[in-house]
């Protein structure tokens, strides 16, 4: 808790406005706006963590906590709920510090309002690590207000009262007053100053850190179900996702979008479409050109009085697209692009990090190992496809949408309608999955553009699954070429890694063709191995479609390549993979990210969040121990695979026990996941995130690919864009939470479970079959 006391940070008002003052359009400004800025860019006064995010943080109890006279405590959640459980977990934090009884807590979802709530951009696995402290302070402030109200009423000094469960008691007598009874008086009091707050000691906490629900298949407590604020609503069908918003007089639209990025509309014949029963109007939407930003692609919208009519109307459209305006993108064929990148990976590129003489090391090596790995485009494909409702009222507008980035959504809708930000209300619904897709509000802006033409009527834009897979902000393809030199004892002496991927920076400005700091910092320049000569290079790669965040982002290809290659090196050295990986990591030590030329560090202070080799070793040791690695013979066509990766300032290692049967089907008997995220606030949700990431990672390894031909995504729906089904899940998954130690700062949870899954699985396939996978997905490569 010491960190809380020491770092009572005052919201820096000037900082809040700092980013807005810079000229728009530069890659840095765009990066900064999405929370990706390198702290060092503001060298005079570096800010980290929540403090560096646009809008910063807020810890005012009146913003987040309301107590009604019937005792109901309502906590406002301002982050996007997309399955990570943040509505529950942040409310648990506040309830615990406040002393509230969980059964009397309700959660209300905030609208988009960065000025009021602070940063709401829910990505980067940041919600808990950025909001744990502000929420505790907000709740401690509310508790002090209740205690002062009680002390006033009894005419006693406030230090004679204390809060127990949902009531304040006078310690020297039997008097007590419930939260509800104190609510009215407490509300009249001033909000306490930050230095007046006293946070609870760990020993006083009732909810934070408590294990509930199933732990590795067994219920921890059969009398209690895990806290889940939306649990009942979900299982009864009452939970309201973006798709479920119902409005009177609503119009339903689907949009035919240009097949290749940058293409326009040539000609449209809508004579059949308008005859479809229920179709009301066909509307041409102009695209906004390059860079793509978060803007709609344009196209032809079919507006109808129900979704089915709109879909049928779109089927009936005859559109000739103008592919000329797409330029090179219209010729984009991902198989050719892969070959081009693989060839380019043979030549040097921009040097990102260098130590020692790698050429000499490779030349003098007793043995060299070389391998090139490929990861394809993927679509996030949340189960709820993009959907949004906007109503334009002339001088104001209202939107309802499942969005990860409320601020960008509000700005986008305001921009499309020519309204001031204050005139736009954005209601955040539950998200039926996000995974990065819903960080981009293009689909809400589409609804705004249409709403402008139907003033006074709510317009819903519904994406079909085909739309979602054709027009995702795709995970970048990646080619990673690695070369290592080993001495006669098999010890690594040189490491040369070239990574080639189109950059997300291409969304925001002229294509940089090189990875940005935040992309390199996702496991490339932060590669932790202790090798005398290292060179990391990033040759050019141009973007030909929209490239965007996909859960864990560039950590995916970096971890997949590096952790596969480490296994290949161990093999070449004739060593056990675990032992060799620990040797590559070297002695337990803490390394400043700056030493690795990483000025980003997920936005966190490098002094608080160093790269910690000890924590890496600990997760490797734990996962392998739990998987019984020392007896790793599992019989014919079955073997263990290991991988480790650190990302989002957390540490994950996975061992998979995999069989490839006679039909060449991959059966995952068991996954052991060791995870260190520092303090686990709601361990049950941490486990669920790791379990889910494991399944998603299996899909990345085995199945998922979006390929392009002539600028167009080739997969349409889940019949060809494959994602994991129950048969693909591990028969058993065991999540082992590793205690990172007293000083371990809180890390991310939503994303860091994903990167090591694919390499662990491919390493296991190698152990089972001797077949080394270097191109994802595995698909039919096993025969």
């Amino acid at each position: 808790m010491s960190r809380l006391g020491d770092s009572v940070m005052l919201a820096n008002v000037s900082r809040r406005h700092f980013l807005r003052g810079l000229a728009a359009g530069s890659a840095f400004v765009m990066a900064a706006r999405w929370g990706l800025a390198t702290a060092a860019e503001d060298a005079d006064d570096p800010k980290y963590g929540a403090d560096a995010m646009p809008g910063g943080w807020v810890d005012n109890p009146n913003v987040f906590i309301r107590i009604d006279e019937d005792g109901t405590v309502t906590i406002t959640n301002h982050r996007a709920e997309m399955g990570q459980g943040i509505r529950t977990s942040l409310a648990l934090v506040a309830a615990d510090e406040l002393g509230a009884d969980w059964d009397r807590v309700e959660v209300e979802q905030a609208d988009a309002d960065q000025e009021k709530y602070g940063n709401q951009n829910t990505d980067g696995s940041r919600s808990m690590r950025h909001w744990y402290e502000p929420m505790r302070r907000a709740a401690a402030g509310a508790r002090l207000m209740l205690e002062r109200a009680a002390a006033d009423q009894w005419g006693v000094p406030v230090d004679e009262v204390e809060t127990r469960v949902h009531e304040v008691v006078h310690k020297n007598s039997d008097r007590k007053l419930g939260f509800g009874e104190l609510a009215r008086a407490a509300r009249e009091l001033d909000v306490p100053e930050r230095d007046e707050l006293e946070l609870k000691a760990d020993s006083q906490l009732r909810y934070i850190g408590r294990e509930t629900g199933p732990v590795n298949g067994k219920l921890t407590n059969t009398d209690t179900r895990p806290p889940a604020i939306d649990g009942e609503d979900v299982v009864t069908g009452k939970a309201r996702f973006g798709a479920d918003v119902q409005m009177d007089n609503m119009l339903y639209a689907v949009i035919a979008r240009p097949p290749a990025l940058g293409a326009g509309i040539g000609s449209v014949d809508d004579s059949d479409a308008v005859k479809v029963r229920g179709v009301e109007k066909i509307v041409r939407l102009d695209g906004t050109g390059m860079p793509a930003l978060f803007n709609p692609l344009g196209g032809v919208a079919v507006v109808a009085n129900n979704t089915w009519a709109a879909i049928q109307g779109r089927e009936a459209l005859a559109i000739e697209w103008d592919l000329e305006s797409a330029g090179d993108n219209a010729g984009y064929t991902s198989d050719d692009y892969r070959k081009m990148l693989e060839e380019r990976a043979e030549s040097p590129g921009k040097v990102i990090r260098e130590s020692g003489d790698v050429e000499k090391a490779l030349e003098e090596a007793d043995k060299t190992v070389t391998a090139t790995y490929y990861m394809p485009h993927m679509a996030q494909a949340p189960m709820e496809p993009p959907v949004a409702i906007v109503q334009f009222n002339g001088d104001s507008a209202e939107a309802w949408a499942p969005i990860q980035h409320p601020r960008a959504t509000r700005e986008g809708v305001a921009g499309a309608l020519g309204l001031d930000l204050e005139k736009v209300t954005v209601h955040q619904t539950l998200l039926g999955g996000g995974f990065g897709r819903k960080s981009k509000p293009d689909f809400v802006i589409e609804a705004a553009m249409l709403a402008k033409q139907f003033e006074g009527r709510p317009v819903r834009v519904q994406w079909t699954r085909e739309d979602d897979i054709h027009h995702a902000y795709f995970h970048a393809v990646s080619v990673d070429r690695l070369q290592a030199g080993l001495d006669k004892d098999g010890k690594a002496t040189g490491w040369l890694h070239r990574t080639l991927s189109p950059s997300i920076g291409s969304l925001f400005a002229e294509d940089p063709k090189h990875k940005a700091d935040f992309e390199l910092g996702m496991g490339f320049n932060t590669m932790p191995f202790d090798i005398p000569a290292i060179r990391l290079e990033n040759p050019e790669a141009a973007a030909h479609t929209r490239i965007g965040w996909f859960r864990a982002v560039y950590n995916l290809p970096h971890a997949w390549a590096i952790q596969s290659f480490a296994a290949e090196m161990a093999e070449a050295a004739g060593r056990d993979h675990r032992d060799y990986l620990l040797e590559l990591l070297g002695e337990s030590r803490q390394i400043s990210p700056e030493e690795f030329k990483d000025g980003w560090n997920y936005g966190e202070n490098p002094e608080v969040y160093p790269i910690d080799i000890g924590r890496m070793r600990a997760v490797v040791e734990r996962a392998t121990r739990e998987a019984n690695w020392d007896n790793k013979d599992r019989g014919e066509r079955r073997g263990l695979g290991l991988a480790m990766h650190h990302s989002f300032v957390s540490y994950t290692a996975i061992v998979m026990d995999v069989e490839v049967n006679d039909d060449n089907e991959v059966i995952i008997h068991r996954a052991d996941i060791a995870f260190d995220c520092g303090k686990a606030v709601n361990p049950e949700r941490v486990r669920s995130q790791l379990e889910g990431a494991c399944v998603m990672g299996i899909g990345i390894a085995l199945q998922s690919e979006v390929s392009f031909r002539d600028g167009k995504a080739e997969q349409d729906n889940f019949d060809r864009y494959l994602i994991p089904r129950m048969e693909n899940a591990p028969r058993e998954v065991h999540v082992h939470l590793v205690d990172g130690g007293e000083d371990a700062p809180m890390g991310g949870v939503g994303e860091p479970g994903l990167p090591p899954v694919a390499p662990a699985l491919c390493n296991a396939i190698y152990a089972a079959t001797g077949k080394r996978i270097r191109r994802l997905p595995v698909g039919n490569q096993l025969g």
Partner: protein
Amino acid sequence: MINLTINGQEHELDVPDDMPLLWALRDVVKLTGTKFGCGIAQCGACTVHLDGEATRSCVTPVAKAEGKAITTIEAMADDDVGQRVQQAWLELGVAQCGYCQGGQIMTATALLKENSNPDGAEIRDAMNGNLCRCGTYNRIEAAVARAAGMEDKS
């Protein structure tokens, strides 16, 4: 006019015969617990019961649902087996985002009505058509088994 019996209630709908039941439920009857996920019977988010049988409403024209008992997730709390499945789901904290879980529960309930004590392979086989992008499959499997166990006790 199409006459549908949904969760025991009669509805008269002025929709074309070929409108999928999914969109009739969602856009016309305003029962939104049944979800759109793919539109081609690949994901199971739209699963309802037709005369007790788990059915993909996204590829079922309303005309084919006429005369049948249509049951949606909204009615599962009133169903003995459905209620047990919901309880098991909550006890094991199955849901993450929750979007697919209505369909999962509909499929699981139909399974348990047909086979009150399925083994792991039978559960996986029955549930394999329901996608969950959050990857909650291990807990789904455990929750179906747990719900079956509750039935044994009752």
